[in-house]
Symmetry: C2
């Protein structure tokens, strides 16, 4: 299951993040076929492409959304529980979402999250390369709306050393193939 | 419990978001005193300031982290389950974090989240003004580390109509007062 980074970021390809200029390489192991409710089964697994976490983006994300010393400044972060600069957990969560949308969870109607539970077992550090491994763990067809169901997916975001930095077990609304 | 928006955003005040240029007005109801573990009790409540959600920022956040039609384009969003442009749930989560850091949850050592569960009961729309109401629901002092504990806080993010758009029940690491 190799993961490579795109080395270049062309603004005219969909691989490229137009805001952050961070290359996102989609290497999902499933085919590019988009999946409906009836295509899913418990135990089904998906792998995302990879995403390199930029130090400046860690700081600018934190400046906007989570301005705490351990997300903003190397020196200040050293004396905190993080023992060094760490990305905001919400930054990691947002990166994981990008990896899922870019093929890590190829649902035909997109990824419509209803909620879920999450944890951050390890910090995300500057320069980390993340990818997401997902598994379908529950499928509940709707009784009242026969064309849809709620699927529980556990998505584990791992760094280049195989350490989990973020685990999100989310409930996703999934539709059946139209008529 | 009135919530007002700052009308101007000066880059030299801490009220101002230096990246997004979105005014954040801190009107936390607790005093500005920062709290340690022994200052917390179950049922304790906190209110954040307010934050106006900018339409262009909804789109640029989604372009970077959650590029799906219902977060990017009004017309495309109309035919989706959202029936109009909606912020990424991770954008709403990040805004809620900013409101907590800016006085909505005044913990002395900052807000160090270990995990939690979340849901998005309603979409966040362009122009919405959000605030966060938090309540301490559990306090578990550490047995092995007497200077810290884990506190469970339920934080409900509401729009200007009092609708909950995001509920996060998070476990936060909190320290005792030193010495």
């Amino acid at each position: 299951m190799p993961h490579k980074l795109g080395n270049a970021c062309s603004p005219v390809t969909s691989d490229c993040d137009l805001v952050g200029r961070i290359p996102v390489k989609n290497m999902a192991t499933e085919t590019s076929r988009k999946l409906y409710l009836e295509d899913l089964h418990i135990g089904q697994r998906f792998n995302s492409g990879s995403y390199r976490v930029d130090e400046e983006r860690i700081k600018s994300f934190a400046t906007e959304f989570d301005p705490q010393p351990f997300h903003l400044d190397h020196a200040a972060a050293q004396s905190t529980i993080f023992r060094g600069l760490a990305a905001s957990g919400w930054h990691t969560a947002a990166i994981a979402m990008r990896l899922l949308v870019d093929g890590g969870l190829p649902l035909a109607n997109g990824i419509i999250g209803l909620g879920g539970d999450l944890e951050w077992p390890n910090p995300t550090r500057p320069g980390d390369t993340l990818h997401v491994e997902s598994e379908v763990i529950e499928i509940v067809p709707s009784r009242s709306r026969p064309n849809q169901g709620v699927v529980k997916v556990r998505s584990t975001t791992l760094n280049q050393d195989g350490q989990a930095v973020y685990v999100f077990t989310g409930k996703v609304l999934v539709f059946r193939r139209p008529g």
